[in-house]
């Protein structure tokens, strides 16, 4: 790769350069926008998953506490 880079011609920065840069920047921007949207979606999924995990834990604790309460009231 180093030999390849050493033998590389100098990039001509004339009129054509801005068009080439524009095309590659547009492509990069589209990919970045897509990845950003997907990252936001994944963050939402993660947040909802945390909420559901918390809810499931609360419900499981409630279910465990209910039989204990029933036993306590029947003892009285």
């Amino acid at each position: 790769m180093l030999a390849l880079l050493a033998a590389a011609p100098a990039l001509p920065l004339d009129e054509a350069g801005k068009y080439v840069a524009g095309a590659y920047i547009v492509f990069l921007a589209l990919i970045v926008i897509y990845v950003a949207i997907m990252a936001a979606k994944l963050q939402r999924i993660e947040r909802e998953l945390r909420e559901l995990a918390g809810f499931a834990e609360t419900r499981a604790n409630g279910d465990q506490a209910a039989p204990a309460r029933e036993r306590a009231t029947s003892d009285v």
Binding site: L11, F27, L30, I31, M38, E48
Partner: protein
């Protein structure tokens, strides 16, 4: 389920993109006719090829969906088409920039290659309203599959029709009768095609993974939300 192998695939894609960009800017010679502007070719043409192949692949997945009734194939078909539409946007924009640099116009309406790609793109742009206009999920998937098959069959027909049309403007660089591409340019082009193809596969896999996670989350929410007899729902309503 879909996320398996996503990390090595992503690494391979980034490596392939880095190699192809190095080849484009440091290895491929400048075009004698167009000069530096021709570097857009290594982005624009692979994007177009991958987008069109992606549309056909979406049609193939749709056939598998109709044959098996498995909704997994419908998801594959939808995501393939979705990704190809995004690539299609990139094709149109990079093509316009190249046209402006080479021909002095952003768009040439009497050029069959440009107009035919626009027709294919607009046809697939109608896929979304068509699909989501149907509420019943099963009918939605079935009708979307029929659309994907019909449109997928149109893509190669359209391509052949354009090749048969005699264009005076759009270059035919793969034709061997007029010389075609030199080896260095061909190697660079193939590396770019591989990199863009890998990018398409990675993004499809990424989106399928996200869709699968979202679907499983909804199932979990429904299961947890199922109230005991005489009890109201305790989970907040779904967002989005």
């Amino acid at each position: 389920m879909y996320g398996k192998g996503l990390r090595p695939l992503s690494i391979a894609t980034v490596a392939a993109l880095a190699v192809s960009l190095s080849l484009v800017f440091f290895y491929a010679p400048l075009d004698a006719d167009q000069g530096f502007v021709q570097k857009i070719f290594y982005l624009h043409v692979p994007l177009a090829i991958v987008a069109l192949v992606g549309f056909v692949v979406g049609g193939v997945f749709a056939i598998l969906h109709l044959r098996s009734g498995d909704s997994r194939w419908d998801a594959y078909s939808y995501v393939s088409i979705h990704m190809s539409v995004i690539f299609g946007v990139a094709v149109l924009i990079t093509g316009s920039i190249w046209a402006k640099a080479s021909w002095g116009h952003w768009w040439v309406w009497d050029e069959p290659t440009l107009v035919s790609f626009l027709i294919v793109f607009l046809m697939y742009a109608t896929y979304y309203p068509f699909r989501y206009a149907i509420e019943d999920r099963e009918r939605q998937a079935r009708y979307a599959s029929v659309f994907a098959i019909a449109a997928g069959a149109f893509v190669p027909l359209n391509f052949m029709a354009v090749r048969l049309a005699q264009s005076l403007v759009h270059p035919r660089v793969f034709a061997t009768t007029n010389g075609g591409l030199p080896d260095t340019m061909m190697l660079t082009f193939l590396a770019s095609l591989l990199a863009i193809g890998l990018l398409w596969v990675t993004l499809v896999k990424f989106e399928l993974t996200a869709k699968s996670a979202s679907g499983q989350l909804k199932r979990l929410r429904r299961a947890l939300d199922a109230p005991a007899p005489g009890e109201a729902s305790r989970v907040a309503p779904e967002v989005g």
